[in-house]
C-alpha cells in the first residue's frame, strides 16, 4: 500500500462534492480537500484545514442537488511553514486581498451507477472559471454517503504563482484537486 500512494497522479487545488438530501451538513472531520502539485517534477501534497460546505445531494434528483464550498486559503497545509507563508503572498494566493476560494455548483448530473458530474464556477484570487468535477458516491458502513472526486485545474488561469513563479518548469501549471465529502444519512 506504500507503493500505491506514490503513484497517485498529480493533484491540484480546490474541490467540491455532492452531499445528501436536506441541510444535513458535511462530516467535516472525515471529509477533505487535498491537492497535489508538481514541483521540479516531484509530487507535493497539500490540503486545506478550514473550509465550509453547503451540500444538498439527492441521488434520485440530481438536478435539485447542489454543492457550494468556501475554502479558507490561508488554512493551507503544505510541506513547511516557509511554503505556507510564501503561498499566502501576493504572487500566489494573496490571501490578504483574496482570503477565500469559492465553488458554486450550477448543475449536478447523473452520469452512471453511483457516478455524478458536478458543474460549477470556481473562483480563486478574483478569477472565476468553470469547473467540472466527476464524483463517485458510495455508502459507508454507517450509512453515510461518501462522495469522492478529483479534477485538474491550471493555477495560471487563476494567477496563482506569478512573476518568478509563473515558470511551469519549477511548479507545474496543472494542480490535481481531490475532494472527499462525507454526508450523514438523511433522517
Amino acid at each position: 500500500m506504500v507503493l500505491l500512494r506514490s503513484f497517485i497522479p498529480t493533484l491540484g487545488m480546490l474541490l467540491l462534492a455532492a452531499g445528501q438530501a436536506g441541510a444535513q451538513g458535511v462530516l467535516i472531520d472525515r471529509s477533505e480537500i487535498r491537492f497535489v502539485s508538481k514541483q521540479m517534477g516531484v509530487n507535493v501534497e497539500g490540503r486545506f484545514r478550514k473550509w465550509k460546505a453547503n451540500i444538498v445531494f439527492l441521488p434520485k434528483n440530481p438536478g435539485a442537488s447542489k454543492a457550494d464550498l468556501e475554502i479558507d486559503l490561508g488554512s493551507i497545509d503544505l510541506a513547511s511553514d516557509e511554503a505556507e507563508t510564501e503561498i499566502r503572498r501576493p504572487l500566489w494566493f494573496d490571501t490578504t486581498k483574496f482570503p477565500v476560494a469559492k465553488f458554486v455548483s450550477s448543475a449536478v448530473r447523473d452520469t452512471g451507477v453511483d457516478k455524478y458530474e458536478v458543474q460549477g464556477a470556481l473562483t480563486i484570487k478574483g478569477v472565476t472559471r468553470d469547473a467540472v468535477v466527476p464524483i463517485t458516491v458510495r455508502k459507508d458502513a454507517a450509512g453515510n454517503s461518501v462522495a469522492e472526486g478529483s479534477f485538474a485545474l491550471k493555477r495560471l488561469d487563476f494567477k496563482v504563482g506569478e512573476g518568478e513563479w509563473a515558470d511551469t518548469e519549477t511548479v507545474a501549471n496543472e494542480v490535481l484537486v481531490r475532494v472527499r465529502m462525507v454526508l450523514p444519512p438523511v433522517k
Binding site: V2, L3, S6, V42, V44, E82, T170
Partner: protein, 189 residues
Amino acid sequence: MTRAGPTVEPRYTRTAIVLHWLIAALIVAGFMLGLSMVGLPLSRQKLQWYAWHKWIGITVFLLSCVRLAWRWWHPVPPAPTAMPLWQVRAARVVHGLLYALLLVIPLTGWLFSSASGVQVVYLGLFPLPDLLPKDRALATIFRACHVSLNFTLLALVCMHAAAAVKHHFVDGDPVLTRMLPAAILKPPR
C-alpha cells in the same frame, strides 16, 4: 612484531577503497548542501538543492548497501596486533555506528520528505514510494531525527578521521595507508 622480510601489508581491496572515499565525498557534499539549502529563500534554486541533497542521500544509502555486501564477502584486514584491545573494540563500535548512520540517515530524510508530503524522485527519474502519508507532526519529528543524526555522524566522522591520523603519525601503523589508493602511496623514486 618485527617481521623477517618485506611482507605485503594487508590492504583493503580496491573496491572497498573506492567505495569508502566515494561515500566520504558524498556525505561531505550532502552535509554541506543540507546546511546551506535550509537557509535559502524559497526559490527554484532551493528546490533544486533539496533535490540534489536527496539524490546524494539515496546514493549514499545504495552505495553503503553495496559496501556492506562487499565487506561480507571480502573481510577487512585485521587490526594491527600491537593495537590495545580497547582501541580495537572502540574502532569496531565506531565503524558499526558509521555504517548504521549511512543507512539510517537517508531513511530519516526520506521519511521526513514523505511526512512533509513531498515525494522523492531519485535523479529526477525514479519516483520512490512515499513511506508515510503527509503528517506535519511526524515531519517535525523526522526532521529532528535527521538533523541530530547528521551531527552525530559528524562527530563520529571526526573521531574516525582523528584516529586514522593518530594511527599514521603516532602509532606508525598501516591503518590509514591501507585505506588510501595505492597510487597515492607510491613514493616518487
